[in-house]
């Protein structure tokens, strides 16, 4: 690889990981507050900047100037490490997502497997954060997070298997190209998409599956003892997980950067347009995250486990069998 190529790659990484993702996360916090307000007939933050758009900056400033309390009863090393352990996998998982035509930070053949392996590390950040805090609420939150994320990882992984069966690819870019040629996979695999969606909500600890936080039961769950920027990192990690989950949903089931009924022109304009299409689709799914959060109440913990093990897991196995049968029949 040429030196210039390495420099371009570094620039790309910085632009995506240090600019695009945190900015989107900050905008999401604003959107979350305004959308929730609108759904409850309120207005939400609308004073800082146009339509309240500068509110995230005000929030960030507040976070920075808050006192960074480290309680005396915590396991210090792990306590300080946990927020970073939670944020880094969230940023890493985004690396393989093809965010425009022929564009992805990390162009690997095992893209989808990479995403699952990295995103399952994220549970360490939450669990260790809860454990190192040495408080009952944090510990309960951490334990719940680990149980929930491991359970739903299964359903999430299995719901993607039909995609692999149909396309015969694990490379995310080529999965998108297959969809551009043959139509979006959600048309073929609607039930698998539903399972993927539900599991991804559980994986990102979002309502209706936010049992690890569960304000009414656990104060704030695994980040009860955290303050200032450490808390902000957990917060950021949750939102970046949301972005990654939405981007994956778009990539796997909704044609990624593909625009239906329209042929993208060759060259730079086509790539830009494809990136915009990808962002628009991801934006819709991010809105769906917020929309669902302010519609549904939280599941009880046993209901959550029931849903994961007794319904989603068998259902996804069944879908795999059916898809495999279908593929085998059609292949002949």
């Amino acid at each position: 690889m040429l030196f210039v190529d390495i420099l371009w790659k570094l620039l790309e990484i910085v632009l995506v990981a240090a600019v695009a993702l945190p900015t989107t996360a900050a905008l999401l916090v604003w959107a979350e507050r305004r959308v929730s307000a609108f759904m409850q007939d309120r207005l939400g933050p609308n004073r800082v900047g146009p339509a309240g758009l500068l509110q995230p900056i005000a929030d960030l400033l507040k976070f920075i100037f808050k006192e960074d309390v480290v309680p005396g009863h915590v396991n210090k090393a792990i306590y300080i490490l946990a927020p970073a352990l939670s944020l880094v996998p969230a940023l890493l998982a985004f690396a393989v997502v093809p965010y425009a035509r022929d564009m992805a930070i990390l162009d690997v053949n095992v893209g989808i497997l990479y995403v699952f392996s990295v995103s399952s590390i994220a549970v360490y950040g939450i669990t260790l954060g809860g454990w190192a805090s040495n408080s009952k609420y944090s510990l309960l939150g951490g334990v719940r997070a680990s149980a929930q994320m491991i359970s739903y990882e299964l359903a999430l992984g299995l719901s993607v298997v039909p995609v692999l069966l149909v396309t015969g690819e694990t490379h995310l870019g080529r999965i998108v190209e297959w969809q551009a040629a043959n139509g979006w996979l959600v048309l073929y695999l609607f039930p698998a998409w539903i399972i993927f969606l539900v599991s991804s909500y559980a994986e990102t600890n979002r309502l209706p599956f936010d049992c690890p936080e569960a304000e009414t039961e656990l104060v704030a769950g695994y980040h009860t003892e955290y303050s200032s920027m450490k808390f902000a990192l957990f917060f950021l990690a949750e939102y970046i997980h949301m972005i990654t989950a939405s981007a994956l949903t778009v990539t796997l089931f909704f044609g990624g950067w593909h625009v239906p009924f329209f042929t993208l022109p060759e060259g730079g304009w086509g790539t830009t347009l494809s990136c915009l299409a990808f962002c628009a689709k991801t934006g819709f799914f991010l809105f769906l995250f917020i929309w669902v959060r302010w519609t549904l109440p939280r599941f009880r913990y046993d209901q959550l486990m029931n849903l994961g093990w007794k319904i989603l897991l068998p259902a996804s196995l069944g879908i795999i069998m059916l898809t495999a049968g279908g593929v085998a029949l059609l292949a002949d």
Partner: protein, 178 residues
Amino acid sequence: MGTRIVKRPKLSFMERIYLGPVVKGLGMTIGHFFGTLRDVFNWKNKKTAITMQYPEERWDFKDNFRGAPALVMDQEQRGKCVACQICEFVCPPKAITIWPTEFDETNSVEKYPDRFEIDMLRCIYCGFCEEACPEEAIFLVKEAELVHADKRDFIHDKEKLYEMGGIRNDRIMKWKNK
């Protein structure tokens, strides 16, 4: 009492699959979302939003609202207060201080307040001054949001009190005929 067994309702298949009600709920929240969104662009005839944009929009209080006490004038711009000091005497937190002075011989009224101060940091908005005043000269007005950067500004002097109270139509015009 004993144990009472509550029968759980039997859920239909569509209810147990949970997705139908979820979609229905999503429909309801998005309805409110767009309702409020429309109101933001057409705030004059808002239908869904219930927020009041506070510093720009304010409550219209009833006339008997007990806000800050203020002195009033009659139609001929005469201050009605005769410095009898009953309000000062009745004030529970001792927020009112009056320095009375005399008019000269030509005036029909004998006394008026030279200085009249109400310490709004002490005032409890009880309205005793309004009730006690024999001249109907002090009233609790609707103004209740007192914000100052300097503590001294909370002590309302005579000019401030007359400015807040303004002119109040007097049926009898007592001072004119005295």
